[in-house]
Symmetry: C4
C-alpha cells in the first residue's frame, strides 16, 4: 500500500505493458506444445474467444473463428439483430471519418429496436455450420432476450457489460438476480467484466462457467477518462485468478474459466494475460484488422453508442491480413498482430512450458 | 520518504492521473444515486462549481450554471468589472492566435482599473435571476472590494490566489488578517488555493466555509516551471481532507467543504477528486469548450495577465458542445468532456456507491 | 518482489536506459586506460564484437572489424552462404521502403537453401586476412554446418538464437545435446541469447567459452510484442555476471565471458553494459549506420525473415560515418553513435577506472 | 538501494524534474524577501552566475550580467581569446543549420590556438566596467593560462570540465595537483563539475571557494549517450550540499558555495536547485535565448567541439527577450524562461521563505 495523502492509501496495479514473461531454463520443440483448453463441456483448440463487437463478429466471422478452432461470440444487441440487412449500415459507417460524427451516427442506428426473431435467425445460421459459438447480451436486457438466444442454439450465453456485479442494488421489483437467473438457464453463462477478487468470487458463486476480466471492448482509456474507473489488466487477472483458486476450493472442485477481456493488442499480450493467470483471452481489436472484418477498418464496442454518455471510441485500424492469417498465420509483420496462435505457440516453445496451465506459473518481471 | 540525496528527503505525491477508482463488489441503478451536496446554508444539485475565470464565467453563464444546478462564480477583478462593455475585448482577444502576443494584450487590457460600481451591477444582474452564485477576489484586493460584492448579493465570497495562507508575513501595517476579515464579513467565505494539511487547517480555523485545493486556474505546469512549486492534486486533496476531519473534531462539528480546484479535465477527474476526499470540484477548462463560453475557444486565468511574471498560459480548445450539454448532456464524445454530471452519476452506478460521501471512501489504485 | 495481484508476484527488471554510471572520486589520463580483453585463447584490443547480421557483417566487414581490433562474426545462415553473389539481393532489398513488403521479400530470399561450400569459401576468404573472427549458426542447424565452419577456420563458433537453453525438451531422437556437442567441437563456442542466472549457469556448465546475454539482434520490442517475453538488459547482464562468478568458483577457475548482445545503441550503452558486469558487447545497429555496411542503410536480423512468425523489424538508419569512424573515430556527432572505442576510453578516464574489470565494479544509479 | 540484478545494486537518483517545492503554511510579501548571497569576499544581489559558454558570454554580456547584479564568467578558451575579431565567426556559425555541419565547423574554428594576450585584453575590458566577474579554464590548460587570467583582474578563476576530481591519476610528471595549484593562486577558485559527495568533499579540501555541481554546459543527455555517465541533478546537489555541511564542520567554519551547473531550464529549476541545497545556479541555456546573446539563437558548450569525441550538441533556441528581461523582467511568457530573478522572488513569497538559506530547507515532493 502506498500513501496517496494523509487520508487515503492505494495499492499499485499493473497493466500488461508493465510486465513481461521470463524464459525458464528450458526450451521446447514448437510442435510439442499444447494450446487446447476446455470451458464447461466444450473443448477448443486454442484459448481465444472473439469479442461480441459488431466491427469484428458477424454470423459469418463467428463461423470462421469456430472453424479455425476458436470461439466466436455474436453481439445479440447489435446491428445484426436490429436490421434485416445491416450491410448498408456498415458501409455507410465506414464512409464517416470524423470521430464525433461517427458516434452520432452510431447512436442513431443503434436506436432501432432489437428484433427477437432476428436473434434466433442469426444464431440458427451459425448453428447450421456446426461450430461451437456464443451470443452476448448486456445485463440490462439479458432477461428479455435470453430465451431467444437459447432457442438459437448457443453453446454459451455471455452476459457482458462495462462493470457487472452479482450484487446489483436497485429498489425496482424486477431487478436482475444473477444467481437465480443463471441457474434458470439451460446453457452455461460467461459473465463480466469484473476486475477484482470479491466481484469475481461472487460471480463464480452465482454459477458462472467463465468470468470476463476487464472492462471490455477496448474502452479502457475512455472508461478512465469518463468514469475515473480503471483496474489495470495484469493485476485484475491475477486477482481474479486467485478467486478462481479459492472458489475451486470452497466449491469442492468447480473450475471457472478466467477470460481476459480487453487491453489485448496482439499475441504478446495474450501470452502475458495467460502468464498472469488467465485461461483464455477474448480478443477484439486484432480481429478488426482483418480484410474480412465487418467493420471495414473501423472498430467499436457497445460503449461507443450509449445515447447520452458514450464511453468508447470508434477507432480506425488499417486492415493488414485475413482473419485466418491473423488467427493462425502465416505472418509477414513483426508486431504480434498476425498469427496470434503461432505467436502463443512460440512463446511456449521459447519459455519451455508445455501448456497454458504451466504458462500460468511462468515467472514475470516488471519492465 | 525517499532519499533525494544525502541532505534531502521527499515524500512521493500523486496526480489524479496516477490514480483510478476500483469498482466495489456492488453495482447500482443509475437513477438511484444522489449527487446533491451542501455548503454552509446552500444546497446544490451536484458538486460542481464553475471557476471564476473570464473565459468561462460571465454574468450570463454564472446564471446558466446556477439554473442547471451548479454554483457559478464571477471573477470580480476581470473584464466584466473593468469595462462597461467587455464584449469587444473578448472578440479582439479571440482574434489573437500567437500565445505571447495574447499575453501581452491580456496584460494591457487588465491594466484598466476595477470599477466598484460595475461589481455591484454585474452581481445584481445575476441576483435577479434567483440562482445561488458567488464572486471571487484575490487576497491582495479583497478588502477593497468585498463590501461591493456583499452589496451585490453573493451567496459566497471566494478569496482565490495561487497560494493563500492564513499566516501572511508582512511588515506592512495594513496587511490582511484573514481570520479577522472572514469573521467581519456577512457572507460565508471559500478560500484557497492551498495544497497541504497545515495550510488547510489554518484556513479552516480562520473560519472558511470551504477551502480550494490546488493552485487554481489550470496553471499547474506553469506554476511548476516558473516557481518550482507543485503539490500533485490527488495527494493535496487527500491531505486537505484529513485536515477537514481533524478540524471537524477539534471544532466540535464544523464541516468545511473541500473543493478540488485545478487539474480537472473531465468527468473522470471529478470522480477521482471526490474519491480522493473532495466534496466538490471547481471546474474551468471543460466549460471553456462550450460554444457559449465567453472565451470563444480560448481559456485563461488571472495568472496569465500578471504584469511582470505571467504564470499561466492562454490555451486554445476547440468548442465541442453547449454549456448545458457539457454539464448535463447528452454527449456524443467519449472522453469525459461532455455530460460531466451524467459521467459522475454513472461512476456511482458502476461502483455501487450511493452518494458523494460514500464515493470518498472508494478504493483507489495507482495505475 | 512486487505484488502484481493476489496470485502473482514479479521482480523489477531494468534496462540500460534505466541506469547510469556514477564517476568515482578519481579521474585518469585518457592514454592510461586499458580496453584490452581476452576470450579463451584470443586477446583483443577492445571489448566489441560485431553481430552476425547480414546488414552489418559481410566477409569484408568482418575483416575490417578484425583489423581495427574487434571481433567480427559472419552469419553462416545468411545471404553470403545462400547465394554465390548476394550483392544484387542487397541492392534490391535497399530499394524496398515499405516495411511489410521488405519482410515479405526477406522471407523469399532467405528461403533459398544454405550451400555448405559457400560457408567454407566465405570463411576461407576471411581467414586469409589473418585476423581473429567467428561464424554464427542457429541451434536448429548448428549440427548440420558446424564442420564446415570449423574447416573454414573460425576462431569461435557462435550458436545464437532468440532464446537458447542447455535443456531443450524434445521427444525427437536427434535433438541437440548442447554439452555433448560443445565438447565434440574443435573450436571454442560462444552461445546465447540467454537472460537469466540459471540458463546462463547451465550454458557455462555445458562448456561455453562465452555466453550472449539478451534476446539478440535489436528485436527486443518485437520479441515483447509477439511473444510477451522480455528480460531488460541491465538486469539480465547483472544476473548472468553472477552466474559467471558462481561458475568460476564451482569450476575451480574457468572464466566464461559475458557478452551483452542487444539493446546497444551507442558508446554510452556499451559502457553501461560493462558497468553492469559484461566483459564485452556484441554490436549490431551502430555498425548498420556505416557508409560501407552491407545493408545500405537498412538493418535486420534473422528474426525478421521467419517464414510464418517474423519477430524483428527491418529498420532504416541514415548512414553517418565509415565503419572505421564508427569504431575508432574521429566523430563529429554527439550522440554516442560514432567513435565507440573513443567513447569507452573517455568513460574510463572520466570515471577514474583503469580497465574493463574495474569498470564492472563502478557504482550505478537508477535515473 | 535497488537490486539491478544478482550482482549489482544501485541507488535511485532524481532530476530536478522529479521534484517540486511544497509551500509552507506561510506566505510573504514579495518585497520582503532577500535574494542576496556571498561567495568568498564578494557579495552579489542574486544567486545566478552566467555559464562560461561562447554562445552566451562575451566581454560585453559579462558586463551586462554584472551590472544587473549577477556574476558573469568568460570562457578563456573560447573564440574571444582565439580570434582578434570573432564576430564574423559567430555570424558564420549562425548561418549553419545542419547539426553535424555545425559541429564540424566548431571543431575547425576552435582548432585555432589560444592567444594569451587576448585573455588579458578581454578581461581588462570587463575590469574597466567595474563589475565583479570571473574567467574559466579547463583542467587541461588551466596552468598554462591562469596567470593571464589573474593579470586580467578576475574576481574568481573557474576551473570547469565535464568531470573534475581532486585525485587525477596520471603517470606524467607535470600532471595537475589541484590543491597545490589552488593554494598558489592569488584569486579564489570555483571548480567542477562534480556530482557526488566524495568528489565534492575532496574539491572543498583542495581549497575551492565554490564547487560546480553537474556535468556542465547543458550536455547532460549527450554525456549519458556517449559516456554512460549521469548523476541526476537533484540528487547531485543534495549530496554535494551534504559535503558542504561536513566540510564546514571539519574545517572549523569554511563555507564553500555549492553552485548548480546544468539542467537549469528556467526560474522553476533554479528555485528547485536552491531547495535541494544549492547556494546559487550557473545558467547557460536561458541566456542563449536573449536577443543580444552572442550565439544568435544557437547555444553550445566546450563539449560540442571536442576534436574526436564531441559530447554536446549545438542547439537552436528562438530568441524571446533581452538579456535584461530574461534576468530581471518584465515577462510576457509563462514558462519560467524570462524574469528569472522575479520568478525566484515570487517563489520565496509564495512559499513564505525569507532568503535562499531558508529555501534550502523547503519541503520537497517527488512528482
Amino acid at each position: 500500500m502506498y500513501d496517496i495523502g494523509r487520508s487515503k492509501r492505494a495499492e499499485k496495479a499493473y497493466n500488461l505493458d508493465d510486465v513481461a514473461i521470463v524464459p525458464s531454463k528450458r526450451t521446447r520443440d514448437i510442435d510439442e506444445v499444447d494450446l487446447s483448453w476446455r470451458i464447461d463441456a466444450v473443448g477448443l483448440e486454442f484459448p481465444l474467444m472473439a469479442a461480441p463487437m459488431d466491427s469484428v463478429m458477424s454470423p459469418s466471422t463467428v463461423i470462421d473463428v469456430g472453424r479455425l478452432g476458436g470461439l466466436g461470440v455474436l453481439n445479440l444487441e447489435g446491428l445484426w439483430t436490429r436490421y434485416v440487412d445491416p450491410e448498408p449500415i456498415f458501409e455507410e459507417l465506414a464512409r464517416i471519418t470524423d470521430p464525433t460524427a461517427a458516434i452520432r451516427r452510431l447512436q442513431a442506428v443503434y436506436a432501432e429496436p432489437i428484433r427477437p426473431e432476428l436473434i434466433e435467425a442469426r444464431l440458427a445460421q451459425i448453428r447450421a455450420a456446426g461450430v461451437p459459438f456464443a451470443g452476448s447480451l448486456s445485463p440490462k436486457v439479458v432477461r428479455d432476450y435470453a430465451d431467444h438466444a437459447v432457442r438459437g442454439g448457443v453453446d454459451f450465453l455471455v452476459i457482458r457489460g462495462t462493470t457487472v456485479s452479482a450484487q446489483h442494488v436497485s429498489s425496482k421489483e424486477n431487478s436482475l438476480d444473477l444467481k437465480q437467473f443463471i441457474h434458470s438457464l439451460e446453457v452455461p453463462v460467461i459473465v463480466g467484466g469484473c476486475a477484482n477478487y470479491h466481484t469475481a468470487l461472487h460471480l463464480m458463486r452465482a454459477g458462472a462457467a467463465g468470468v470476463l476480466v476487464g472492462f471490455g471492448g477496448g474502452a479502457r482509456r475512455a472508461t478512465r477518462n469518463v468514469l475515473g474507473i480503471e483496474v489495470p489488466m495484469a493485476t485484475a487477472i491475477a486477482d481474479v485468478a486467485a478467486a478462481r483458486g479459492d472458489y475451486l476450493d470452497e466449491s469442492g472442485g468447480r473450475y471457472v474459466a478466467v477470460i481476459a477481456d480487453g487491453s489485448i493488442g496482439g499475441s504478446g499480450d495474450i501470452a502475458k494475460a495467460l502468464a498472469c493467470g488467465a485461461d483464455a483471452a477474448m480478443v477484439g481489436l486484432p480481429f478488426a484488422r482483418a480484410f474480412d472484418a465487418p467493420g471495414r477498418g473501423y472498430h467499436w464496442g457497445p460503449e461507443a453508442w450509449h445515447p447520452s454518455l458514450p464511453r468508447g471510441l470508434r477507432v480506425h485500424r488499417r486492415p493488414i491480413a485475413t482473419l485466418e492469417e491473423i488467427l493462425v498465420g502465416p505472418s509477414s509483420v513483426a508486431d504480434g498482430s498476425v498469427n496470434l496462435v503461432g505467436g502463443l505457440r512460440r512463446t511456449l516453445a521459447s519459455t519451455g512450458f508445455v501448456d497454458v496451465k504451466s504458462l500460468q506459473k511462468a515467472e514475470l518481471v516488471l519492465v
